[in-house]
Amino acid sequence: MGLALLVIIWLITFFSTYFFVAQTWWLPHGAATAAAFIDHQFALTYVLMGIVFVAAQGALGWLVWKYRAGANNGPVEYSHGNTKLELIWTTLTAVLFIGLNLMGSHVWASERFDPAGPDSVPVEVTGMQFAWYFRYPGADGKFGRTEPKLMDPSAGNEAALGLDTTDPAAKDDVVTGTMYLPVGRQVDLTLRAVDVIHSFFVPSFRFKQDAVPGLAIHMHFTPTEIGEYEIACAELCGLGHYKMHGMVHVVSQEDFDKWLAAREAEKQ
């Protein structure tokens, strides 16, 4: 049974590690500035944890085979432990774990602690059962007032958000069901939810943030590649959670301006 355990544990270790190393399934292609760092940090954590994983499982398999009752004819080592080894092990783990943690902190901080830059594109994202709406403030750069009483999800877009058209700032607001962003420019995101908690998850941007009723959460990120990227909802929000998806179109600045102008024109 010692040999069987060794084989089983080592095989499990081999196959688990193989699919990580071969990257058979991996993070989706990254298309925002944070992706490079996050992917690097992920790979580093993976290598370090992978070494500990292989070492611990390898040792477990080897020990149970080597010291099986039939094979070990020598005396059992009567020992209650070794304080020096305990201390070395504890210090090493503490340094490894806490060091890893500190390394990642600046990327976390840059997207959250600092406000978005002056040239950023303001977009408000609103989650509701079971759709995402995207609002652009128009030429005045200001989001107009929304009124809960005016919200009519069946009408979609501006009406779904309850845009109060008596507010001058609301007149040029554009609300759409698809997100357009210019490539290479920082996006100043405001996240809201009207009913329950949703989570705005764009795997390719390495971006995820809950949208919480009652809160307006500010974040910023920069898409780096032209293309279409899927949005998923990552917080359980009800029966339609699995189909609450959307699309981000990252386009050139020129195409973005054209698209926004066309939406404005449609509204009039």
Partner: protein, 576 residues
């Protein structure tokens, strides 16, 4: 160590007082165990339906019929809730703890036998109320076992969020009361009823684990109870603890000014210690068994005790790592993340000591030991994905994906279940007076170990690729399509592994009546439960009170007659 005689009482005679409303901790322990056994099969059946629906979304199943997306979420909610409360909290602590804690410390019963009976029957009522949610109009709730508000606090947020959700939260509140009673009883018993010579540092590590777990329970369940009552008020009396002004499907709800994050803070203040409530007893059992079957003292007994304490303390300051993406202050993420990494250190110490125990040992591979070894392997695998999730930047892509599901199932689900299997195979002879079948035990072990790895390891790959959890179907997102073969593989592995659990149940019941008779100490172990008759008499030690002379793991002592020295053996072991 006082007033032991006051607890010695004659065994009751009638069937009801003996087997139903029994005050005997051993009967109550078995009652808890069988409650958890029923619950685990219910929970497992729900997970099977979920796995089937994920890969064959349109299949019409016998009895259940068609599984709609909302049905899937109801299965998911009930699976999580039943498994966490009625299996992971119930069997390792209340089941085995009730039966063996008093015996292992040399006490005739728990400190408060009536409270003990009450806590079991309160748990039973909670379980019945939980199951009743299935039959409520609209069915069981769909808000997940974490019950995030406002989804859980509004009655029109989805099917099952009416009576079903009220029953769900009521059941949890009742469960909290039962757990508080149990925790109080465990703590008092350990502090007051230890036999002569049973100092704290001579207690088996199982007792230490039950002790720390009881303290966690006492501090955590009170918070969940309060949180649950507030949720009931929000749902039924129009208060706004968790709900701000919200508009559901165009309808402005009457709430104003509440905070959805308040629920998350209260829930996870309970929820994270709960993870340790589930796993610490398993750690205790693994330590006990590795030492016993390796015929070697546990490596670093004191370090093991301190590590348990450290996990217990740190377990209360890490809850925020569930909330990195929640909208809580991004500054606090640093504090929670450092604390979370810190809790990895005592966990690593335990692993190191388990491996150290095996070094230069003479390992006997009886079934309980196989499960203890499996526990260590799963604990390592599930533990090492922790430092990914504990880093806020890596939590961005991984939070609420299948990676998290793989992580916590390995470490608090399957590892804890392996602790229960280990405990079952180990203590079954003492509880029922017969041995379980070894061959079937081994077959069950191999299929379950390989099967659980086949189910939960691939979930890490799915999560890295961005597959969100709690999705009933993956048909809507193009980037998930290439993951379907992996999802199918997991379902096939789940079907095989679930089928193999019937081997265990058949072995359990067959051995109860037909297994070979067990001796008083079949594993040649040292702790007090192996000094008394099999099964133990009503007052545990047949009228005398044991006196303890040694620590719990004196194996292969040089110069001793046998390769183990019982804790009650007055013959000397060199002082150390």
């Amino acid at each position: 160590m006082v007033a032991q005689d006051a607890h010695a009482h004659a065994g009751p005679q009638g069937f009801i007082r003996k087997y139903v409303f029994s005050l005997d901790h051993k009967v109550i322990g078995i009652q808890y165990y069988f409650l958890a056994l029923v619950a685990v099969f219910v929970g497992m059946a729900l997970s099977l339906l979920m796995r089937i629906h994920m890969i064959w979304p349109t299949a019409i199943l016998p009895i259940v019929g068609e599984i709609k997306p909302e049905t899937y979420l109801q299965l998911l909610t009930m699976h999580g809730t039943i498994m966490v409360f009625f299996v992971l909290t119930t069997a390792p602590q209340s089941g085995f703890g009730n039966y063996f804690l008093p015996i292992q410390i040399g006490a005739p019963d728990m400190a408060f036998p009536v409270l003990n009976m009450l806590s079991f029957w309160t748990t039973f009522v909670a379980f019945v109320v939980m199951l009743a949610a299935f039959f409520a109009v609209g069915g069981a709730p769909l808000h997940g076992w974490t019950g995030y508000a406002p989804l859980s606090a509004l009655t029109n947020s989805g099917p099952g969020e009416q009576l079903g959700a009220d029953l769900w939260i009521t059941s949890i509140a009742i469960f909290c009361i039962a757990s508080l009673m149990g925790a109080l009883n465990f703590i008092t018993t350990i502090l007051d009823l230890r036999a002569k010579g049973m100092t704290m540092m001579r207690m088996p590590l199982t007792c230490w684990a039950w002790f720390i777990t009881a303290i966690l329970g006492l501090l955590a369940f009170g918070v969940l109870l309060s949180a649950g009552i507030l949720l009931l008020l929000d749902r039924n009396l129009g208060t706004s603890f968790y709900v701000p002004l919200v508009v559901v499907n165009g309808q402005v709800m009457g709430h104003k000014g509440g905070s959805p994050l308040l629920w998350q803070h209260l829930f996870w203040f309970f929820g994270h210690p709960e993870v340790y409530i589930a796993i610490l007893p398993g750690m205790g059992v693994a330590s006990q068994l590795l030492s016993t079957f390796a015929r070697k003292p546990i490596f670093g007994y004191k370090a093991m005790v301190y590590a348990l304490m450290a996990i217990g303390i740190l377990g209360f300051v890490v809850w925020g790592h569930h909330m990195f993406m929640s909208g809580m202050s991004p500054y606090s993420a640093f504090a929670f993340s450092i604390m979370t990494m810190a809790i990895g250190v005592p966990s690593a110490i335990k692993t190191f000591n388990w491996l150290g125990t095996l070094y230069k040992a003479k390992i006997r591979f009886q079934t309980p030991m196989l499960y203890a070894i499996g526990f260590v392997s799963l604990f390592v695998s599930g533990g090492l994905s922790g430092p990914f999730l504990a880093q806020p930047v890596l939590d961005i892509p991984l939070h609420d994906t299948a990676f998290v599901v793989g992580h916590f199932h390995l470490i608090m689900g399957v590892a804890a279940i392996f602790g229960m299997f280990a405990g079952t195979y180990y203590w079954f002879p003492k509880m029922f007076g017969r041995m379980m079948n070894e061959s079937w035990g081994r077959i069950h072990f191999v299929i379950t170990l390989v099967g659980t790895y086949c189910i939960f390891m691939p979930m890490h790959y799915l999560g890295m690729a961005g597959q969100p959890r709690r999705y009933s179907q993956f048909t809507e997102l193009a980037y998930l399509q290439h993951l379907m073969p992996l999802n199918r593989f997991i379902t096939y592995a789940a079907i095989v592994t679930i089928a193999a659990q019937f081997i265990f149940v058949i072995n359990l019941f067959w051995s109860m009546f037909k297994g070979p008779k067990a001796s008083d100490n079949p594993w040649e172990a040292t702790t007090l439960e192996w000094t008394t008759a099999t099964p133990p008499p009503h007052d545990n030690f047949g009228g005398h009170t044991p006196v303890v002379y040694h620590g719990p793991y004196e194996y292969s002592v040089p110069g001793a007659a046998k390769d183990y020295v019982m804790q009650t053996d007055p013959a000397g072991v060199a002082a150390h």
